[in-house]
């Protein structure tokens, strides 16, 4: 039973990262009905931004500031950098195609994804980076429940992702800007007639989604995921799977989907074989689509035909 608990905790921690990536997918899809296939690469760039922020502050073993300053700075740089990059991508790669068929935007998104991978290779080199978290955080610290150990980094990831989800939910559901986003999601033409600046809403949506991807990048780095230019491919796929499982367009759904995928993966690794973990995660996606095509928290929407 303790082993089961250990694997569930492992899954929830990785699931927290998937959930943040899924939130970005779901936010953009919810507002624009557009699948941003380059979202995984924004997560990758966020991980690099956080890494270089850490290096700029002296590196993992010789930081010139206390760790409680360094980590928030890493998050701020990654989220800010990710948001700026997301806005630039929207401006130059998606906006010109907004009136085109959806396929054109999807192909553009694929192009952006490859462009960002190559740009990272050119700018940062091919070497795989590690955050080396153990140099600035005592990995043996934290607390234990029986034989289940949870360290500070892991607590930070789970609490951080829940906090960001709550803030996002509040922004979307309780603010003027959130109301505008929901209006654009329902009917863009009607939103324009009500005086909503659609371009502004879309820019804010991309900034939020990409900022979350940046935060997920730093979290994965702190959890010791290797940082390289291809790290976004699989993570993006997992985030997308989580978004669909939870119900794409639903904020709590993305969160639940992320945790489900993380836990399923960990249990498959623990009780079957790590080689089957991805297969089983994607099998869950197929099953959910067959049983409840709208996802766990998704709602059926009437479409005018």
């Amino acid at each position: 039973m303790e082993y089961f608990g250990e694997q569930v905790v492992n899954g929830l921690i990785v699931g927290g990262v998937y959930a943040l990536i899924a939130l970005g997918y779901t936010l953009i899809y919810g507002v624009l009905q557009f699948l941003n296939l380059a979202h995984g690469e924004l997560y990758m760039m966020g991980a690099f931004f956080g890494f270089f922020a850490m290096i700029a502050l002296g590196g993992p073993s010789a930081a010139v500031v206390p760790v409680w300053i360094m980590i928030p700075v890493m998050f701020l740089v990654a989220m800010g950098g990710g948001a700026a990059l997301g806005v630039a991508v929207e401006r130059f790669a998606y906006r010109p195609l907004r009136k085109s068929r959806r396929l054109a935007a999807l192909i553009s998104a694929l192009g952006v994804s490859l462009f960002l991978q190559s740009a990272a290779l050119l700018l940062f080199g091919a070497r795989v980076r590690l955050y080396d978290t153990g140099q600035f955080i005592d990995l043996t610290s934290g607390f234990s429940i029986g034989s289940i150990r949870i360290d500070v980094t892991e607590i930070m990831v789970v609490v951080g992702s829940l906090l960001l989800m709550t803030i996002l939910w509040f922004l979307v559901n309780r603010t003027q800007q959130g109301r505008a986003m929901r209006a654009v999601a329902v009917d863009q033409d009607a939103a324009v007639m009500n005086g909503i600046d659609i371009d502004r809403v879309i820019v804010i949506t991309f900034a939020l989604a990409s900022g979350l991807a940046g935060a997920a990048g730093v979290m994965s780095g702190l959890l010791l995921f290797p940082v390289d230019q291809y790290m976004g491919i699989f993570a993006g796929l997992k985030g997308f799977t989580a978004a669909v499982v939870g119900g794409i367009g639903s904020i709590p759904g993305a969160m639940i989907g992320g945790f489900i995928i993380g836990v399923v993966e960990a249990l498959a690794t623990g009780y079957l074989n790590p080689t089957y973990a991805d297969f089983i995660a994607f099998l869950i996606l197929v099953l959910v689509l067959l049983i409840k095509p709208t996802g766990i928290m998704g709602k059926k929407v009437m479409a005018k035909v």
Binding site: V14, L130, T140, P226, P274, T275, D278
Partner: protein, 405 residues
């Protein structure tokens, strides 16, 4: 407004492309002019040269040819491929600078560590008649894929990292390698864990690549023969988090042997063990031999003593670091592999047959004395290095490797 902006951006892009084209053209024209001027000057100088000097000029042989470099320049193993390419560049530059009349160059070929891609690239290299030999490919699966194609074209190819023992069983007659095989590494590592570390229980985390499976199986077999309890956990190459795998490692496990080709993953496993409060020590195969794997007390094997500790390699290591940055274990053998082809090509050229067949015929005569890998490099009849062995290091408190066996 948007249309105007788009038109502006398009105009800038078109102008940029046009300028780049013009610049390229200008540079080509300038180069042609410079070459023509140089040729004219050389002709004038030759006319004015005294008869005895003329004879000396005639004796100087110019040897010019190209070599393909097959490496994973992009894809998941790009960090390895880029390092390999840079070591090949350095070897060619050094050889051209130190050998009179030598004018060798490289043609880059990206295999992405994929057998299918390697096969396609091999065909492209063969189609280039200027190429007389190939450095690479890196992976054993790629060597198997390109071996018959290169054999048909009489193209010698030297891998700096393919360690599958079966590759030199006669199926690939034009194949050579400068590293020892898994048949050497597996038993060496297993014997060290069983005898020197006194391990009773070992977990092998085996990455599902040709390299990882080959060395993992070899180590597991060696440990079982020595009476050590072994559990093999296969993990996909794409796996990012190892905490769930580490949960499977029991408290009684003495050593976790990892077969990654990227050292950062070995470090990730070592730190995950620390997080989980487990006392097992990590032992990495040669793919982990890099500064990225640095948890104190860990072990790692390598096909050469750290070249930073090889006196013959000091100059090369320093120049490489200065020009390209830090390097791991996969780069230095490329320097030696390239040297073997350069030597063979130079001998073939001096013998009047700088062709693929000429280079291939010279390969068995290769002898690199005091190589940067520490020791002489000579090939046996099968294409393997004579007397190759593996070395084992322990990482000290600063993470630096210290030779223990």
């Amino acid at each position: 407004m948007n249309r105007r902006l788009m038109m502006g951006v398009s105009a800038i892009a078109v102008a940029g492309i046009t300028l780049a084209g013009c610049a390229g053209g200008s540079s080509d024209e300038a180069a042609s002019e410079a070459t023509a001027e140089q040729t004219a000057a050389e002709e004038t100088a030759a006319e004015e040269t005294a008869p005895e000097e003329e004879a000396a000029v005639e004796e100087a042989i110019v040897c010019s040819a190209s070599f393909g470099v097959m490496a994973p320049l992009t894809g998941g193993a790009a960090s390895i491929g880029q390092e390999q390419l840079n070591f090949a560049k350095l070897a060619v530059a050094d050889f051209n600078a130190s050998t009179e009349g030598a004018d060798y160059s490289l043609v880059e070929s990206d295999t992405q560590l994929d057998a299918g891609q390697a096969s396609t690239q091999a065909t492209a290299l063969i189609a280039d008649s200027g190429i007389v030999g190939v450095v690479g490919p890196a992976g054993s699966q790629e060597v198997s894929a390109v071996g018959p194609t290169f054999a048909e074209a009489s193209m010698a190819f030297v891998s700096p990292s393919a360690t599958n023992p079966d590759l030199t069983n006669g199926d690939n007659p034009t194949f050579y390698r400068v590293v020892p095989t898994d048949a050497v590494q597996g038993p060496t590592d297993a014997a060290f864990m069983a005898e020197d570390l006194g391990a009773d229980s070992v977990v092998v985390i085996q990455e599902k690549t040709d390299y990882g499976v080959g060395i993992g199986d070899s180590v597991a077999a060696g440990l079982e023969d020595a009476g050590v309890a072994v559990e093999v956990i296969a993990v996909p190459e794409e796996k990012k988090s190892y905490d769930d795998v580490i949960s499977k490692v029991g408290d009684d496990v003495d050593v976790v042997f990892v077969t990654f080709q990227i050292a950062a993953k070995s470090e990730q496993v070592a730190q995950s063990l620390v997080k989980a409060g487990k006392s097992a020590v990590v032992f990495g195969s040669d793919g982990s031999f890099s500064g990225d794997f640095k948890t104190p007390g860990s072990y790692v094997s390598a096909f050469a003593p750290d070249i930073n500790q090889v006196p013959a390699a000091a100059d090369v290591a320093a120049r490489f670091t200065e020009e390209y940055g830090e390097f791991g274990t996969f780069g230095p053998p490329v320097y030696v592999a390239t040297q073997t082809l350069l030597q063979a090509a130079q001998r073939a050229c001096e013998g009047g047959d700088l062709s693929r067949a000429g280079v291939l015929a010279e390969m068995p005569n290769t002898m690199i004395a005091d190589s940067i890998l520490g020791g002489d490099i000579e090939f046996d009849g099968a294409g393997d290095v004579d007397g190759a062995r593996f070395y084992i290091f322990q990482l000290d408190d600063s993470g630096a490797p210290s030779l223990v066996k």
